[in-house]
C-alpha cells in the first residue's frame, strides 16, 4: 500500500480561503457538512472575515445507502441560520470522494429554498468519483487506495489534522 506524506490541514485551510477569496460574491454564505466540513467552514468563515454564521448540514436523512446501512450513527441536526433563497452558497466538506455525500447535501439544501448558486469547496479531492460532481475550490488532489480512508480530525486543542486508516 502506498504511504503518503500528509500535509498540514491548517495550512490547507488558509490555502483554500485564498482560492475562494477572489470569487467571493456579496451575500455569499458558507455551509459545512458534518463533521469535518463544519470545522473547515468555521476556519473559512474566520479567514474570509464573513459576518454570517455558517449553515450546518447532516446528510443522514438524504443518503442513498440508507436501505443498506439504516440510521445508526448519531445524527446531528441540520441548521440554516439564514434564508438560502436567492443566495450564493459555498458548500464545504473535508474530503471529496465518490460525490454521493455532495449529492445528498445539495438535495437537502434545496429543501430549504432555491439558492442562486452552489459552489463546492473541499480540503482534499481523492478521486474515484461515482457521480458527475467536481470541486470548485480544492488545494489538494491525492490518489489513495480504495481500502484507505482519509480522515480529518480535531486535536484536543482544536487543531485539524489528517490521518489515514487502512480498512481490511
Amino acid at each position: 500500500m502506498p504511504s503518503i506524506d500528509l500535509p498540514d490541514a491548517e495550512a490547507q485551510c488558509a490555502e483554500l480561503a485564498e482560492l475562494i477569496r477572489p470569487h467571493l460574491r456579496p451575500g455569499t454564505l458558507l455551509v459545512g457538512i458534518h463533521s469535518g466540513g463544519v470545522w473547515v467552514a468555521r476556519r473559512l468563515r474566520d479567514l474570509l472575515d464573513q459576518a454570517n454564521d455558517i449553515g450546518l448540514i447532516d446528510v443522514s436523512f438524504y443518503r442513498d445507502d440508507y436501505g443498506e446501512r439504516g440510521l445508526h450513527a448519531r445524527v446531528k441536526p441540520s441548521s440554516m441560520p439564514f434564508d438560502v433563497e436567492g443566495r450564493p452558497l459555498i458548500l464545504v466538506d473535508d474530503v471529496l470522494y465518490t460525490g454521493r455525500t455532495t449529492r445528498a447535501a445539495i438535495n437537502e439544501l434545496f429543501d430549504y429554498g432555491r439558492p442562486a448558486s452552489i459552489q463546492l469547496a473541499v480540503l482534499a479531492d481523492r478521486g474515484r468519483r461515482e457521480l458527475p460532481i467536481c470541486a470548485d475550490f480544492c488545494p489538494w488532489r491525492v490518489q489513495l487506495d480504495s481500502a484507505q480512508e482519509l480522515i480529518l480530525s480535531a486535536d484536543s486543542d482544536g487543531r485539524l489534522r489528517w490521518s489515514v486508516a487502512e480498512n481490511a
Partner: protein, 319 residues
C-alpha cells in the same frame, strides 16, 4: 429468549413496548428525533428517507390524534400512507387479525402502525411476520389495550428532556388512572430505564395496579404528598370508556381529590412542567387554569410527538 423487538444484530426492528429496551436504544431515538424536529421548520417539511415505502395505519380502535400524527410523520419521511379503518371493513365481516395482516403484506406493506384494544396484538403481528420470514416488514405499536403506548412514552421523555435535561436529578409524578393507562406503563418503564431520580405513581387505590413498587416506583394515594417538590407532573386522562364497575364515586369527587388545580400545582417546584397525553377532560383530572397556564407543555408534546414518530419509523425501516 430473544427480545422480539430486536433483530439478530440487536437492532430495533419493531417498536412494541418500552419495557425491555436498553437505555441506549431510547437515547438513540430521542437524539434522532431532535434532528427531525428541525425538518418541520423548513420550507420543504420532508426528507426522502422512506421514499417508495408503504406505511399502513391499521387502527382497530378509534384515535384521531395518534393516527394523524403517525400519518404526518410518515408523510414527512416521504412514505406512502394508507389509513385503514379496520373496525368498519374486513374485521366487521369476520376476518381474523392475521388474515388482515397477510392481505396487507401481499399488497407490499413495509410497515404497520397498529392500535388494538387487545394487549399484545402488535406483538402477535410481529411474531407472525417473523414466522413468515418477513424481517423487512416492521411493526409500530400505537397503543394496545392496557399494555403499552411506546411512542407516547418516548415523546413524553423527549418533552421532559427538552425542558429539564438530566433525568437523574428529576422527581416525576404520574397522576391518575394508572390501572387502565398504557401511557402510564410506557412512561414508568421509560423513566426507570432513563434513570429518573424518583418516580411516583399517584392515584386512588382502585385505579392503581398492585405491586407497583416492583417497577421501582413510589406509590402515593394522597395527591398533595405525590406532587410535593416534583419537577414533572404527567396527568392521565380518566378513562371513562374503560371503566367497568364502580371504581370511583363520581367524576366530581375525583376532581376534588385528584384534580390538578393551581393550588395543587403550587406544591410542586415553581418551575415544574405539566404534561397530559390528551384528550383532556377539563374539570375532571385537570383544571382549565392549569391546562392553559404557563407551566403546561401539553401542545409542545404534540409537536414533539411528530418528530419522535419520524425517528422511530426512520430507525425501524433502516434495520
Amino acid at each position: 429468549m430473544r427480545n422480539p423487538q430486536l433483530n439478530a444484530n440487536g437492532e430495533l426492528t419493531h417498536l412494541l413496548s418500552i419495557q425491555g429496551l436498553p437505555r441506549d436504544v431510547l437515547i438513540h431515538i430521542l437524539d434522532t428525533a431532535s434532528s427531525f424536529l428541525k425538518v418541520s421548520d423548513r420550507n420543504v417539511k420532508k426528507v426522502p428517507l422512506l421514499r417508495g415505502k408503504s406505511v399502513f395505519n391499521v387502527f382497530f380502535e378509534n384515535s384521531t390524534r395518534t393516527r394523524t400524527t403517525f400519518e404526518i410523520a410518515a408523510k414527512r419521511l416521504s412514505a406512502d400512507v394508507i389509513n385503514l379503518d379496520v373496525t368498519r371493513s374486513s374485521t366487521a365481516k369476520g376476518e381474523t387479525l392475521l388474515d388482515t395482516v397477510d392481505n396487507l403484506v401481499a399488497m407490499h406493506a413495509d410497515m404497520f402502525v397498529v392500535r388494538h384494544a387487545a394487549s399484545g396484538a402488535p406483538h402477535l403481528i410481529a411474531d407472525h411476520l417473523r414466522r413468515l420470514g418477513r424481517n423487512d416488514v416492521h411493526v409500530v405499536n400505537a397503543g394496545d389495550g392496557r399494555h403499552a403506548h411506546p411512542t407516547q412514552g418516548l415523546l413524553d421523555m423527549y418533552t421532559i428532556r427538552h425542558y429539564k435535561k438530566d433525568f437523574d436529578q428529576l422527581v416525576v409524578a404520574v397522576v391518575g388512572d394508572i390501572l387502565h393507562s398504557r401511557v402510564a406503563r410506557s412512561d414508568l418503564h421509560a423513566l426507570t430505564t432513563l434513570g429518573a431520580a424518583e418516580v411516583r405513581a399517584v392515584g386512588p387505590q382502585t385505579l392503581l395496579p398492585t405491586a407497583m413498587e416492583t417497577m421501582g416506583v413510589r406509590v402515593c394515594h394522597d395527591l398533595r404528598a405525590g406532587l410535593r417538590d416534583c419537577d414533572v407532573i404527567i396527568m392521565l386522562r380518566l378513562q371513562n370508556e374503560r371503566m367497568n364497575g364502580a371504581l370511583l364515586p363520581s367524576a366530581r369527587e375525583y376532581f376534588a381529590c385528584y384534580g390538578l388545580t393551581p393550588a395543587m400545582l403550587a406544591l410542586a417546584k415553581p418551575d415544574a412542567i405539566v404534561m397530559h397525553p390528551g384528550p383532556m377532560n377539563r374539570g375532571v383530572e385537570i383544571d382549565s387554569d392549569v391546562a392553559d397556564g404557563p407551566q403546561a407543555v401539553i401542545l409542545p408534546q404534540v409537536t414533539f410527538g411528530i418528530a419522535v414518530r419520524m425517528a422511530v419509523m426512520g430507525i425501524l425501516a433502516g434495520n
